[in-house]
Symmetry: C2
Subunit: 514 residues, 2 copies
């Protein structure tokens, strides 16, 4: 019979050390998109769900929504909407016919086919944080992000098994001029990882550049037939789609690339001080955006997206992890399922200025309802802090460990060895113990998730190991991962073509915004 000590030895050999090594080595441990086996959680009755839907429909029929782009309103007029200036009023039948053209699920190709991501249905893909001007770096300093930081985030995303997307502008590389930045962001995502990535949306020409870079990697025919990028278009709430976002939307939808239609709602500021009414507005904005992608190209892959936060009615600051944010996520989940659309939300949100208890409370309080809502594409799964103003290296890997636990939770309780395990109870009997049983021996590596960054050791051992807090351990892990990073192979012909394209574009792009 094995003793605890011999199991510990084996555990150390087969367990923590090898797992850490495996995670820090090339591509090892990359997990497929989660096939969720646990149920979604509905907080609304059918009546309430219908009331929300009807409220959104009435908003679009009676008040309408602005599409502040000449071509877009012409397209809406042509499609049959009531257009006055930039104001578009959309009858329910037209809206729902367009929404019905959107696929309920689709696959985003990766340059490594093993990393292809199915989006929709019961699938859950996790993606890192996005869009922060600042970083909390490996010395704990807060400063503007650089291209080197961004490359490091892309490397970490590649190496994190529960992440299914490399992301894009995890932090802003402010050392690159704005007109050229999208080229380097996109190149870094392609170069440093072989998972799917996200495209720039800050101007239609930049979106077009990203499509061209994707064509260099995958071939133009493949890109026209399959999404290889997901890109976020934020609605300018309340009820305004602006020219920039519509420009990117047109480029991507026409190129058959996935658009994530995301009303950006700060309830109380740009939506009502009511979780349910804020969702009614957001739903109108999302449906109008989804419908527009289908005018651009029927059948184009599109995600019902959103960003929701409640604000502090004292200071106007966006909050994270509030119960009303939970409700909004759950209500939106029910709406997205009603329309048969894949759903995007934001996972590990925090407003703290340190990776402290606040950051973690807020992150899981945000993430749990996001997960239960049946979200298919979880943005901001790791690294987001300071209400999105900063991307944190420490929080990136800490959050990833939590995401691994959500992944495991999503696989549902295991019953494969139930009879054998119950038989063990009979063998052990009252007053016995399980550490040395054959069932435990055979299952101890896999029965329970064992976090690496959460220290469950004794106080005395923790003292002896230097009294490290979670952030200290996380920074150590980041450094170890980056030290062990090995780039995924990229065909040198493709790499050269990408570099040549960037050089060609840089030659004509200005160094700063006029």
């Amino acid at each position: 019979m094995a003793t605890m000590r011999s199991m510990q030895r084996e555990g150390r050999r087969g367990g923590r050390a090898s797992r850490r090594e495996a995670r820090a080595s090339v591509g090892a441990g990359s997990w497929p998109v989660l096939d969720r086996q646990v149920p979604v959680y509905d907080v609304l009755s059918e009546d309430r769900l219908e009331a929300l839907h009807q409220a959104s429909i009435k908003l679009l029929e009676e008040i309408g929504i602005d599409f502040r782009d000449d071509e877009a309103v012409a397209m809406w007029r042509e499609a049959g909407a009531d257009v006055q200036g930039y104001r578009v009023r959309i009858p329910e039948a037209l809206l729902m016919n367009l929404v019905a053209k959107a696929p309920s699920r689709f696959t985003v190709l990766a340059r490594n086919p093993e990393r292809n991501s199915e989006i929709g249905g019961n699938k859950v893909a996790f993606a890192p944080t996005y869009g922060s001007p600042f970083v909390y770096d490996m010395n704990g300093e807060r400063r503007y992000g650089t291209l080197e930081d961004l490359e490091n985030f892309h490397k970490l995303a590649y190496m994190s098994p529960a992440l299914h997307n490399t992301g894009a502008v995890t932090c802003e590389p402010v050392d690159i001029s704005v007109p050229k930045r999208h080229l380097h962001i996109t190149y870094s995502a392609i170069k440093h990882s072989d998972k799917p990535f996200m495209g720039p949306v800050t101007a239609p020409e930049r979106a077009a550049d990203a499509v061209k870079m994707a064509e260099l990697v995958f071939g133009a025919n493949v890109v026209d037939a399959n999404p290889v990028m997901l890109s976020i278009m934020n609605c300018n709430s309340p009820l305004v789609w602006d020219e920039t976002m519509l420009g990117a939307m047109k480029v991507y939808a026409r190129a058959n690339q996935a658009c994530i239609i995301s009303p950006f709602v700060m309830a109380g500021a740009n939506a009502p001080a009511s979780a349910s009414a804020a969702v009614a507005q957001l739903n109108a904005e999302a449906l109008a955006g989804v419908a527009f992608t289908q005018i651009c190209r029927a059948g184009a892959p599109v995600v019902y997206g959103h960003f929701v936060a409640t604000i502090s009615m004292r200071s106007g600051a966006p909050l994270s992890g509030t119960p009303e944010m939970g409700f909004m996520n759950l209500m939106i989940g029910q709406l997205a399922r009603r329309y048969g659309l894949p759903l995007r939300s934001s996972g590990m949100m925090a407003s703290s200025k340190k990776v402290d208890a606040q950051a973690a409370y807020e992150s899981i309080q945000t993430m749990y309802p996001v997960f239960l809502a049946g979200t298919n594409y979880v943005m901001h799964s790791c690294g987001w802090d300071e209400s999105g103003l900063s991307a944190s290296f420490a929080k990136f890997v800490l959050d990833c460990e939590q995401i691994e636990m959500f992944y495991r939770f999503g696989q549902g309780p295991q019953f494969g060895d139930f009879d054998e395990a119950v038989a063990t109870i009979k063998d052990v009997g009252p007053g016995g113990h399980y550490l040395g049983t054959e069932h435990t021996q055979n299952n101890f590596q896999t029965a329970f998730y064992m976090p690496e960054l959460a220290d469950a050791n004794s106080y005395e051992q923790w003292l002896a190991e230097g009294q490290k807090d979670a952030t200290d351990r996380a920074i150590e892990k980041v450094k170890t991962m980056l030290a062990h990073y090995q780039a995924p192979a990229l065909d040198p012909t493709i790499d050269d073509a990408l570099k040549a394209f960037i050089a060609e574009r840089e030659a004509v792009l200005p160094d700063s915004i006029a």
Copy 2:
């Protein structure tokens, strides 16, 4: 139209300051036991639930369970079980007939009738941490607990609006000798708070002392007719009820006081390395304990309780917040509902040695499924750290804020002002804003939960305010609360009687364990 600034002024006057003051004043803001309006979350199919139940029944019929107490086995024999030595084998019909005698809900009286706690059904009561030898004190030091610490914890429990129970031995007052400790713990809980409290279980005589003290407060007839205490009896897993716990159980059940029957399961150590099989064992232990209380006194109030953790199969250390703990909680919730029994679980568990990100990740990862499981009595809702070895003052108030959010979440999304709020969307129109609208004015105080300890301010403001982390702010809040504490009135006659009883018992009790 009100400006953001004027709303901020009003918010400051009516909001944060007055709320903080209210919380720090006598009894203000104490909330009734939550009447949960959101659904429970079932992870098991009916088939799987039935398989778990059947496995537990077979364990009790075929292997049996030890009741290591002469009177207890005699009572089981008399009731009709197959008894050999301390081993009791219980036929399903006998077991389920006894379980059916237990009430599905009951009310625990408080000395302030406004604090009475209904336990069972859709009700959710939150109680603080319990049983830690150490404290993390207000200077951040880890040391043994004292009676003064315990009194402070009882004061905080009294002042925390989302807590429904004062608890008992929040920390061990090691400055009081063991044989006399229960008297001072129970007195402090009665004296410093007017919420229900918990009783000692370390010896039957001590349980009897607590019942006598309760009788001095409520009157003997009231205590015989109503529970005024809940007390935890841990099963010595696997499948052993020991003499000490059975002794306390007999005292409390016969006195009509609520027993929380709690198998103490460390899956992988004293239960199988399988979440589902561990629940089958735990369920057998809980049902046998619940049934025994009904032999003691038919209809005695009893709670299906448990403590579950998975262990690190590397070190043997108990973990917190793992996905398998989530599954176990959810499965047990389904079982408790099947039997019509109130459910107790453990909420904000953490294994960290600091109130850092780890502590908070673990706490919410534990708490969320506990809440979704339909738990009626949430032990360890605040203050638990270091796997229960330490009670933390900072974590106590930080966790309480999170519990307030779970309370709010449990009330469900609000639709009372839905039509009015949607009408506001029409008034505001595309591109408008909501800060100054009448609806926002009327609802901004209540629409969204606004945490007090989570800092959502700008980085610059946070810097200017001293770069405090969540723990710093929490310690400040603890000090403010204790400085503003005002004891709830206690009839001097009762107080004197309690003191006289303690003196009388102390005169005969030894100063140390022989």
